[in-house]
């Protein structure tokens, strides 16, 4: 029932965005002359990306450009798909220390909040969205956090409008945190796995005994009806279970559980994932990780190192680069910094193209939306960035950012503040937006 709600919501959002696209961006744009990285194929020198009505209609070196098309000259520039941040609280955490603005953690029941749909709290008017887009982040996965089962994640585009307009797909994953027994409400790692196993078994039982459940003729379950309902796509392997976990032994335990229940597993954080890179590759388990943390920050992350992403990538593990540099609470202010993670991943051994893929097509693939975003191919949303140079270098600017075929030149709240205080003392009249 709950799922039907999601699907109808997705259908609705599709309709809404299609309507919006036809009204707002019924236009043709040709980005010409740049070095184009479609990601789905080899780079094209002097390539053209043709956009019609918000979608990519052609990519190549010999694309005929319709008369009247708006042209963006990308000569000497690099053209890529818009970047995807695969794990953020953007939109659900505006100011970490102001509880009013925090919506990423559900109370749940006994540390299980599988039914929690984090995107229902996503604030499309967050002042942190425009800075992200301005720096080339065009989509992001909004993740719930906390407890044992944190809830469901969604992937959205950074477009104006409502949350409904933003959603690409929801849910795209169930999120569980299995690295911290205390946070899961148990006192040992093994007990944590017992609890997770019990939830999965109850979900299976619930799935096949719904009528009995409705007649109150089943035993008591570990989770509520809605939580069990939400877990069904997980046990059916229709959405991945993202487990936040660092320690090698915990990753191994997650792999066992995934085999036992035939789950589609994904690792987030994964400080020690490099220690089992071959097994993760063999099990086709993607890892979301960063490249800017080498601190043995707790006893579950003693093996943390900056080569993690490179080693996983070389072993054939699908890697999506996320922020993990520590600090944490300022993460939503710095959604752009996955570019810096990528640059550091390269400095610590990752292949440049692999790093680029890790912020574009790989996230789209592992979250099941590669038919919509993540590459420059006909039919995909026209989420495109023209970079002044290597996208991972600090000196590089995102000169043109297009989301669903519309170019944005954002003036952010930060920009307004900087204009006001450029010359001191400042004047305090209302600046033009």
């Amino acid at each position: 029932m709950k799922l039907q709600t999601y699907f109808s919501r997705i259908a609705l959002s599709l309709i809404v965005s299609l309507v919006a696209n036809t009204t707002l961006s019924a236009q043709t744009i040709a980005i010409t002359g740049g070095k184009v990285y479609p990601i789905s194929g080899p780079a094209i020198e002097g390539g053209t990306v043709l956009i019609v009505d918000g979608k990519i209609s052609a990519v190549g070196s010999n694309v005929s450009i319709p008369a009247g098309a708006q042209r963006i000259d990308a000569t000497g520039r690099i053209v890529t798909p818009g970047f995807i941040n695969s794990s953020t609280e953007l939109g659900v955490q505006e100011i970490a220390a102001v509880s009013d603005t925090r919506d990423m953690s559900a109370r749940g029941k006994d540390n299980i909040a599988a039914a929690f749909t984090v995107w229902d709290g996503l604030n499309p008017n967050s002042v942190l969205l425009a800075p992200a887009r301005k720096d080339g982040i065009t989509s992001f996965v909004v993740m719930p956090t906390g407890g044992l089962v944190a809830g469901q994640a969604a992937i959205v585009d950074v477009v104006p409008g409502t949350t409904t307009d933003m959603i690409i797909r929801a849910p795209v994953a169930m999120v569980a945190e299995i690295g911290d027994p205390q946070a899961a409400g148990v006192s040992a790692r093994g007990e944590l796995m017992v609890k997770l196993r019990e939830l999965l078994e109850d979900t299976k039982f619930f799935q096949t005994h719904r009528q009995a459940f409705d007649r109150a003729q089943t035993r008591t379950f570990v989770a509520s009806r809605l939580d069990l309902e939400a877990m069904i796509p997980v046990i059916e392997g229709r959405i991945p279970l993202v487990v936040t976990v660092d320690r090698e032994a915990d990753i191994d335990a997650a792999l066992r559980l995934a085999r036992e229940f035939n789950l589609k597993l994904m690792i987030a954080g994964g400080a020690e994932a490099w220690m089992m890179a071959d097994r993760l590759a063999a099990a086709h388990v993607p890892v979301l990780t960063g490249a800017m943390n080498n601190i043995p920050a707790d006893f579950a992350a003693l093996g943390q190192r900056q080569e993690n992403a490179a080693l996983l990538s070389k072993a054939g593990v699908p890697v999506a680069l996320i922020g993990n540099a520590g600090g944490g609470d300022e993460e939503t202010f710095n959604v752009r910094n996955i570019k810096q993670e990528a640059g550091n991943a390269i400095a610590y051994g990752m292949n440049w193209e692999a790093a680029l893929r890790a912020v574009t097509l790989t996230p789209a693939e592992i979250f099941g939306v590669s038919d919509r975003v993540g590459s420059l191919q006909p039919g995909r949303e026209a989420n495109v960035v023209v970079w002044s140079g290597d996208p991972f270098e600090f000196t590089t600017r995102a000169e043109h950012v297009l989301v669903r075929g519309r170019e944005y030149h954002d003036k952010t709240r930060q920009d307004l503040l900087m204009e006001r205080y450029r010359n001191l003392p400042a004047t305090h009249n209302a600046p033009p937006m």
Partner: protein, 475 residues
């Protein structure tokens, strides 16, 4: 007031470069009366009960040739050379003469900079692997704790130290946390292996006093007797300074005439009195522009100086005031929005502060960020370019080196590549403001303490042995 301090400097510096000192205190001889009572019961300016026992590590005369040098003291030298001898910079220039036995390094395509200085670190006091057992940075039992000294919390086996060295940090100031109005004394450390914190202490460095304004103290103490408000914070600072002024007057009088019983020694007031005497530098955690202006007024009221505002995300709003007062801005490149007093953070903060003529310092407050302060500076340079305030590499390198050296009052010893200064030097694999560049080698006082090409020689703390897998690769 300056004379005893110079004496102290001379004694300690001498200790560092020659034989270990047997002297426990550099207290001037005229204080024999105090010595008779027992040094521990008297309050003496610039007392040094926990003296540095740092000794430079063995070094070899080294010349790096054919290398790009950002000196932090002038324009970039392209394809130049630098000579390190006896722990000091001996020569820097287009060419330098080097003795025949010097180690010669070809720096083609690479860069040399001064060692990076982080004036806001919690290494050792919030050591990895974290948890309560190693959480030693905030004495959050009272909002006024100037009596605590960060060095008494520093764990020299914190594995974050070698990681910071590998990121090019050669000197750092370890501060207490920001729970308290007065958090305690800081300590300046060289990022070197040591069995004791004394072996890491920068000889002759002044102490700092950590103070904090705004949300943190009122959050921590709001329901624990106060302060509960910002006005409560200000009342707390002023009450403490009034007592400190009184204490200083009494002790200065007794130290001058030794008449009658000495006043009762108070560790907290002693620290504050040393600030009033100009012997300890104030490092003030403060986010908002309006609060920084109030802290400046309080400093004027009691006659002390604030050396640098730390975390001043709104420094750009009062950069003219900071320039006029000669106060540094120790700030992040792009942290913001994590609490209410951080919502006006802008990525152009450093560029705007620089534009107004105030002193920019790239700081970390983070054991991970400090390993990449060069990248933080690079982000701030990009933000400057975006608002039409381009920052040259020659300017940005100062934010990482000579400016924090000034914040610690050590700019006569470290922070730039000039003859006579300590040979704290980084050889980078490429342009230090590129995301792809990493330190290849790091020298402190001329001793090669980090070499990326030789993992087996890299510093591993006691903690890491066994616990942390040795990967045989560079950090």
């Amino acid at each position: 007031m300056r004379a005893p301090f110079c004496l102290l400097l001379a004694v300690v510096t001498a200790c560092a470069s020659a034989a270990p000192s047997t002297s426990r205190s550099p207290t001037p001889a005229r204080d024999s009366a105090a010595a008779a009572i027992g040094l521990g019961s008297t309050s003496t300016p610039n007392a040094n009960p926990f003296p540095s026992t740092y000794k430079p590590f063995p070094s070899r005369t080294t010349v790096i040739r054919n290398v790009n040098i950002l000196t932090a003291a002038g324009p970039t030298i392209r394809n130049g050379a630098i000579l390190m001898q006896n722990g000091k910079i001996a020569a820097v220039g287009a060419t330098v003469a080097a003795p025949a036995d010097a180690v010669v390094i070809d720096g083609a395509g690479r860069y040399v900079t001064p060692g990076i200085i982080d004036d806001h670190s919690h290494l050792g006091v919030y050591a990895a692997p974290g948890g309560n057992a190693l959480s030693d940075g905030n004495e959050a039992t009272n909002p006024v704790t100037p009596q605590v000294w960060a060095e008494h919390s520093v764990w020299p086996q914190d594995p974050q130290f070698p990681r910071n060295l590998a990121g090019g940090i050669t000197t750092l100031q370890v501060l207490p946390g920001s729970a308290n109005l007065f958090g305690g004394r800081s300590v300046v450390l060289k990022v070197v292996p040591g069995r004791t914190v004394q072996e890491m202490k920068f000889p002759g460095a002044k102490y700092g006093l950590k103070m904090a304004c705004g949300e943190n103290p009122k959050r921590v103490y709001g329901n624990r007797g106060g302060p509960q408000t910002r006005m409560g914070n200000v009342a707390g600072y002023r009450a403490a300074w009034i007592r400190a002024a009184d204490y200083r007057r009494k002790w200065d009088k007794w130290n001058a005439d030794h008449k009658g019983d000495p006043p009762t020694r108070d560790l907290g007031l002693e620290t504050l009195a040393e600030v009033l005497r100009g012997n300890i530098l104030v490092h003030m955690h403060c986010y908002r522009a309006d609060e920084m202006a109030q802290m400046i007024d309080i400093a004027h009221e009691f006659g002390y100086k604030i050396r640098s505002f730390h975390h001043g995300v709104e420094a750009y709003k009062i950069a003219d005031l900071l320039a006029k007062e000669g106060i540094g801005a120790s700030v992040w490149a792009d942290w913001g929005s994590f609490k209410m007093e951080a919502i006006d953070a802008v990525k152009g903060n450093m560029a705007l502060v620089n534009h107004a003529g105030a002193r920019v310092i790239v700081h970390s407050d983070d054991p991970s960020g400090s390993q990449r302060l060069n990248q933080e500076a690079a982000k701030a340079m990009a933000a400057g370019a975006e608002i039409g305030l381009p920052i040259s590499e020659d300017e940005a390198i100062k934010w990482l080196t000579i400016n924090p050296a000034w914040a610690l009052d050590l700019d006569d010893k470290i922070g730039s590549l000039e003859p006579g200064k300590n040979a704290d030097v980084i050889l980078w694999s490429g342009d230090p403001f590129s995301v792809y560049s990493r330190p290849d080698k790091v020298w402190i006082d001329g001793a090669l303490l980090y070499d990326r090409s030789d993992p087996s020689e890299q510093w591993r703390t006691d903690f890491e042995l066994g616990f942390v897998p040795f990967t045989g690769t560079s950090r």
